[in-house]
Structure formats: structure tokens, C-alpha cells
Subunit: 481 residues, 2 copies
């Protein structure tokens, strides 16, 4: 009965997989609801830890005061009629008030649609940030504000993908937004494996061979996605790795999509943007690197900002054809504009208080505190994994995740099969049921045949939950020995 | 050169049209930028009026104080440590503070992702609103928060459309989101004309004959879109009209997509939701109306709320198959969640201050003021159109638009042709160039062959701009007589 059923709706949507918010996440929300209702006496835990998703403010991360003070004035500009109360009674510094006035003068009301590609003054602010970060001029005309990086990725893939013959190189493991979006668009994902043995770096030969294989299958491979720093791996690419990806893009005429949302979550090494390395290469050898098409994305959801719920981000285009950009403009205009408060947060992220300004001291303290806290939690979790039988994990490098390998017994693998699950799904479900800790099985990101992983954020505070994970793991290993 | 060009990118995106933010809108933004830079001495006007888009707060409409006070506290919860200052110095009433606390207790931080389909407590609030509005129980489990209604429409069409054979009945004239989204999805738009002679109402026979024609062309017509009150027409459907659409849906097994974002913008008649009329019909004749699938959408962008920039809305599903809903859940989860501040505004919209509560008086005054202001402006514009040669316009009924017919001379039609434009595009471009007033040509919404229209909002304050339009029109008619 019914007009719509699973067999006649869009098969591309049915095909898409998105484990980050899949069965385990749904189950964990059910547990959370039970606990909230006081109806959890049958559960062996009293709270749920959502380590399945990089959602800092759901856990312990506090928003940065300067950002939120400015936003409160943007939401209620009538407060600006009481500057003395703001400064004397409520701790708002003068730069908070100035920034709010400046944004309002350009935005008008945050309740109005902005221009389709974003507020012009905010695009200019982003361009200046890119110039400071990379040392090369940026043109606001090629910057597009988006509702988080996800919506930017959606726009880019909608433009690039022209059907099942279009191939996009995607790293494995990867954040499943890419495979899910390609499935919805009925385009072809061309996977290339990251090298776990070298800290999940990219390997020129591996990418080249994936490319060649797809090409020989008749696929028109048009673009390569790079997530740097990596999700779920945390790996931060070296300048040489980036250069070799760019060289491959030149060789095979590929568009580069650089997902750089974790650019400030770097513990080891230094973040280099694709933009910086490309523009440097173009300066050195204009002829060779001429016309490379690069789209790079950033977001307010990650880093020390962590404002996922505000859905803000942007992408910048380099080397794109003018008519193609006109289509991108049209595509984003159909959804009208990115959330304006999120756009304002992008402005605050790329243009935070500077040394000497009234809000700098607190901003700097909060920012550094968050950074160090993340690093400490990552280390604590890493140390715990070291103690766990059959668990191997590289040193935390960045992003918000660890992605350990787990080696499970044949008995566990068979028990999983009986439930119609992969072994890592089985393990993760048992973990959730026993501890309330929700992780994502490696299968959700892709992994080499025969290997098993899970991804966990290291955002949750405290160490008690890590102890629960260790205890569960020991029991699980014993049960299936 | 370049990897991507207009010939090889997604042809479905290239095919899509979206005039609301098309060439005229782009040109008007260029004028606005020139004026801002003080570089407008060659323009015959000194400001631009964006009457092309229903964007109330870009023009004169002030946000509702209660809403924005609550939002300011959600953005900066530290303010709640100073309740005395808020109430004594800043005019925040106790119900503002209570509501903010209540929302924060359910949302946590507005900077965190919510559950994919939205904050559970906000879904419950919406369900209660639907019950009050329609007199029938609503289940929060079938409510999905979205980033404006546009993103809800995008979700629904992505699920329903399974390729070029899928047909969706769309009213003409229509808000071009529908045709643009269907083009991107490579599905078939099955147009049915609204009846201008009966206030742009729906006509059972007309819809039926469009349906039959598409069916005989081999199209699998699955759904019918209704925009009520109408955009661009303003028409508010009668109970009988709605019932006849539902009867057609039963007869031909169609999903109903009811776009009800203008439900409070009604000057003539009374708004009836599809939900109310369907549930009433089911109560009367359970057998006949069993299993009808209805998706209805609402938004914070329109009405007296007018908070477009916050990108908030929801849709509710009735009668949908469980497996199909699971796919809808997965689809929305890929984009993570609707902006959380926008979700909170949805809560405030559906649950505003009530009589006797401290903020009610001001809320009511502001709400009524906006409503009356819109009605007055609509009347003033309508009166002006009456005086204009060759312009015919029905009495303003609702929404935020008037959609007059214009009759242009053969000479004007030929001058338009020479520029490669339709006559209504030509007229609208000349209007913009002469007055700075940006409207949307009827071609952007669809109109009967040989008829010409334009859509203008009646949001802009004052009458001076209306005078400019009249003066332009006279000159235009004289020039092309």
C-alpha cells in the first residue's frame, strides 16, 4: 500500500550509507531518551557518550566568549542602546560592541537573507584571512559562504558530477559525507587507500594506480578529494605530500577538493593549505601549474570554535571557469543563502581579537585552554588503547578522532556474521550496549579488506568513560577467545 | 582549457532556472554596491528596492522583540547570571528568561549539532501547535526540522524522484524552487495552471487533465505540490478547493506536498491547512481517505516572523511508509542538522507569548502592527496598479506579493525580442534601470502562453517608490506605443 515505498523511491538515496548517524547513533539516542525519562534501571550505565561525532559543545567544550557576546548583540541589536550596562554590568568589552556594530552595518538584520554567496563584507574578511594565512592574495569574488562545509561539498559535487561515468577520487578511510553524496548523485566513487603504516599519509603511487584502474574501466575521473588534516585519521599532510597530489592533478587534469576543516586541530607537524602550496608552485613554475582548479573548504564546526549547530563555513575557488562559477552561483541561490548568524561566526573565526585588543586576553586563554584540553584527552585515550589487547593506534596527530585498528578473534567474527553485521559493527554495538559509549565502526569510513577499526572522538571529558571502555574490551576479548 | 566547463558539468544544474535571484537580481546588487561606494552619479535613482524577494527584514520589518531577546540569551547564556540586570536595566521580562532557560535545558548549547531530525522538545512543541491549529493530534516522531522550507522541499523531492519518468504536479505560476529542484533531480515537472479568473484558485478539471496528459506520455506522476496561500499569487484556497485536491490525490494515488509557509499572511478568507482538511475527511470517511500521504511545510521566513536569514522551518509527514521515513531520516542526517538557532526560532514561532504572560502585550502589538502594515502596503500598491494603463491586478489576498498582468504593445514585444528577452523580462529590466526597483518577470514563475506578468513584494515602506514605478510605466507605455 502507499504511493511511496522502499522499492520505488529514489534508488540513489536508498543506496547511500551514512554510519556516523546510523543504527548505533539512533540506538544511543534511544538510551539517552530513556535515561532522561528516569527509565534506565535496566541499563548498565547512567549516561551516554556520543563519541561518534565531532560535536564539541555537546560534550565539554565551552563556546568562546567573544564570539557569543557579539552574536548576542547581533540577535538583539536593541541591547546596543545600553552600552554602559553592557560594559559596566555585563563584562562586554569595547571591541565586542564595535564588532557587532560593524557586522550589523554590513549585514543589516541577521533575520534577512544575505546575497546568495554570502555577505560581501564577510567574504572580504575571509579573503584577508587567507592572505595572512598563506601569504598570497585572495579574491572575495571566488568565496562562497555555506551552511557548514557539508553544504559546500554538496554544491561542488552537484556541479562536478554529470552521471555514473563521473569518477571522484576519495580517500579511504574517509568521512562518509563524500561516499553518501556521490551515491545520491549516482556518480562513481574511486577509492584510494591512505597508508596506515606511514601515519595515514597519501601515496602518489596508490592514487595513480586507483586513477588508472578507474580510467581503464571507462570512468571519467574528474576530481580528487583530500581531507587534511584527516578525518577519521587525524593525519596532517606534509608539504611534499601536498605537492605530489598537486602534481598528480596537473598530470591527470583533476580538480582538487581540499577539505581543510580541521586546519587548527593539529598536534604534530604544521598545517599547510593546498592553496598555499599551489600558489607557491605557480609562483615557481607558472607554466606547469597554470589553470589548476582548486576548491578548498573550511568550517566553524571544528577547531577551537566548535560551533557545529550554527552551520557556518565557506569554500574558495581558484582557477575555475567563469561559466562554471555562474552555475555554482545559481545552485547556491536556489537555497537562498547560508544561515546569516553562521556567516557572522565565520567572520569572527577568521578575524578574532588580536593582541592588544580588549578581548584578546580572554580569547587567547580560552582558545589555548581548548587546544591543550583536546591534546591531553587525545593522549589519555591513546595511552589507554596501548594497554588494550589487539588494539593498535598511531600517536594522535590532530583532528578530533582516533582510529585504532582492532584485531578480533575468529569466534567474534562468526558471532557478528550470525547477526548480519561486520565484526567492527558487532564490536561497536556491544560497546554501546555495555558502556553507553557510541563510536563508529571502521566499515562506516572504509578500510582495507580484512582490517577492522573504529573511530572515536576524544572530546568527552574525564577518564572514567575510558576506564569503562577498557573494562568492556577485556570482557569482550575473553568472551570470544 | 580547464577541467570543468559549461559543456561537461552536471547538465541538470545547467538546465535549472531560478529567476528570483537571476540576472535582474545580480544587476540590482551591482547598483547597490555602486551606491554604497558613492559612485552612483550616473544612476537615475539613489537606492535600490529589492521587491524581487520576500525578505521582510531587508526592508522595513522589525524582528519581534520577544524572539530576539530569547535568542540573545541562547547565544550568550552567561547573561543569565545577571537576571536582575536583564530585567531592571534591559527590559527583559520574566517569560523571556524562562523560555531561554527551557530551551537551553533541552538544546544544550546552540553551538552543538542537534539530533538529525531536530531537537526532540522542539518537535513536541510543533506537534502541540498543530493540534491547537487543526484540532487533531500530531505525532512529533513525524516532524523534521529543516533549514527553511527550501531544504525540506529539497529533501522530499530527493526522496520521491527516481529519475526522468517521475512526474510531480506543480502549479503554474509557482515559486521556482520547485521547477529548479526538479531540473537538478532530472525529474519531470507536470505543470497545472491556476485559474487567474477565479483569484488563482485550483481547478480540479485542469489538474486532472494535466495528470492524464502526463500519464499518457508515460510519466509516473507521484505527487502534487500545492502552495497555499499562493506564491506568487497570494491566493488562499477554500476548504472545498483543498478537499477536491485531496479527492484527486485519493483517486490517482498521489502524495500531497503542501507548502504552507504563508499561512499567517492572509488578508481575504481563512487559512485552512491540508492537514486539517485531510484529517477531517479521514474522520468522516476513514475507508476512502485511508493512507493518504501528506507532507506539509512551514517556515520562520515569512508571516509576521520574517526571519529568513535564520533558515528555520519544518515539515510534517502523515501516512508515509516506515521504510521511506527511515530513508528521509538518513537523507537529513547526511547534512547533520538544521541550524539550531533557527530551530529555536521555530519553537518561538509556534509557541509565542500568550495572553496574560508578561511579554504578550508587546508581542501582540508588534505582530498586529506588522500585519496591518503589510495589508496597507498591499492596498496602496494595488490602488497604484489600478491607475496604470494595461495593468490588471486582483485584490491583494495574502502572501507577500502582487502578481499583476501587464499588456504590452507589439512594439515593446519586438524590442524585447531584439535583446533576446521575453517582453516581461524586458519590461522588468527597464524598470530596474529607471527606478532601482527590482521585480521578477512572470516568466520566472511560469504563465499562460501569451500572457505577461511580474511579481513584486509589497514589503517596501513608503509610497515614493510606487510613484517612481508609475512614472516609469507611463514613459515606457508612451515610448513603445
Amino acid at each position: 500500500m502507499g504511493r511511496l515505498n522502499i522499492k520505488n523511491i529514489n534508488p540513489n538515496v536508498v543506496e547511500a550509507k551514512y554510519a556516523v548517524r546510523g543504527e548505533l547513533a539512533v540506538r544511543s539516542e534511544e538510551y539517552r531518551a530513556k535515561i532522561r525519562k528516569g527509565d534506565a534501571s535496566d541499563l548498565p550505565f547512567d549516561h551516554v557518550i556520543s563519541a561518534n561525532i565531532g560535536n564539541p559543545q555537546q560534550l565539554d567544550q565551552k563556546p568562546i566568549t567573544f564570539f557569543r557576546q557579539v552574536l548576542s548583540l547581533l540577535e538583539n541589536p536593541l541591547l546596543l542602546q545600553h552600552e554602559d550596562v553592557l560594559t559596566e554590568k555585563l563584562g562586554y568589552k569595547s571591541d565586542v560592541i564595535e564588532r557587532a556594530k560593524w557586522l550589523l552595518s554590513h549585514v543589516g538584520s541577521v533575520g534577512a537573507y544575505s546575497a546568495s554567496a554570502g555577505v560581501p563584507a564577510i567574504k572580504e574578511s575571509i579573503a584577508k584571512f587567507l592572505e595572512r594565512r598563506d601569504g598570497f592574495h585572495a579574491d572575495p569574488a571566488h568565496i562562497y559562504l555555506s551552511g557548514g562545509a557539508s553544504s559546500g561539498v554538496n554544491t561542488l559535487l552537484n556541479i562536478i558530477c554529470a552521471g555514473p561515468d563521473t569518477g571522484i577520487l576519495v580517500p579511504i578511510p574517509q568521512y562518509p559525507l563524500y561516499t553518501a553524496s556521490l551515491a545520491v548523485l549516482n556518480a562513481t566513487c574511486v577509492p584510494y587507500y591512505l597508508d596506515e603504516s606511514s601515519n595515514w599519509g597519501t601515496c602518489f603511487e596508490e592514487i595513480k594506480s586507483s586513477y588508472e584502474k578507474a580510467k581503464s574501466d571507462g570512468i571519467d575521473v574528474r576530481a580528487i578529494v583530500i581531507i587534511n588534516p584527516g578525518n577519521p585519521t587525524g593525519a596532517s599532510l606534509t608539504e611534499a605530500d601536498i605537492r605530489s597530489v598537486i602534481d598528480l592533478a596537473v598530470l591527470e587534469n583533476l580538480v582538487i577538493i581540499a577539505d581543510e576543516v580541521y586546519q587548527t586541530n593539529v598536534f604534530i607537524g604544521k598545517f599547510h593549505s593546498f592553496r598555499e602550496i599551489l600558489l607557491k608552485a605557480q609562483k615557481e613554475n607558472a607554466e606547469k601549474y597554470k589553470g589548476v582548479e582548486l576548491a578548498s573548504l573550511h568550517s566553524i564546526s571544528k577547531g577551537m570554535v566548535g560551533e557545529c549547530g550554527h552551520r557556518g563555513g565557506y569554500f574558495e575557488l581558484i582557477g575555475f571557469n567563469e561559466e562554471v562559477e555562474a552555475e555554482i552561483y545559481k545552485f547556491v541561490s536556489i537555497t537562498l543563502c547560508a544561515p546569516v548568524i553562521g556567516q557572522c561566526l565565520v567572520e569572527l573565526m577568521v578575524n578574532p581579537p588580536r593582541e592588544g585588543e580588549p578581548s584578546f586576553e580572554l580569547y587567547d586563554k580560552e582558545y589555548t585552554g581548548i587546544f591543550n584540553g583536546l591534546k591531553q584527552r587525545a593522549s589519555a585515550l591513546y595511552e589507554a588503547f596501548k594497554d588494550m589487547e589487539g588494539v593498535e593506534c598511531g600517536e594522535p596527530q590532530g583532528s578530533m578522532y582516533l582510529f585504532p585498528t582492532i584485531t578480533l578473534s575468529q569466534k567474534a567474527i562468526e558471532a557478528a556474521k550470525k547477526e548480519g553485521r561486520t565484526a567492527d559493527e558487532f564490536y561497536s554495538m556491544r560497546l554501546l550496549e555495555a558502556t553507553g559509549v557510541c563510536v563508529v565502526p571502521g566499515a562506516g569510513f572504509g578500510q582495507k579488506e580484512g582490517s577492522l577499526h573504529f573511530r572515536t572522538t576524544f572530546l568527552a571529558p574525564g577518564t572514567e568513560w575510558v576506564g569503562r571502555v577498557k573494562e568492556f574490551h577485556k570482557k569482550f576479548m575473553d568472551e570470544f577467545r
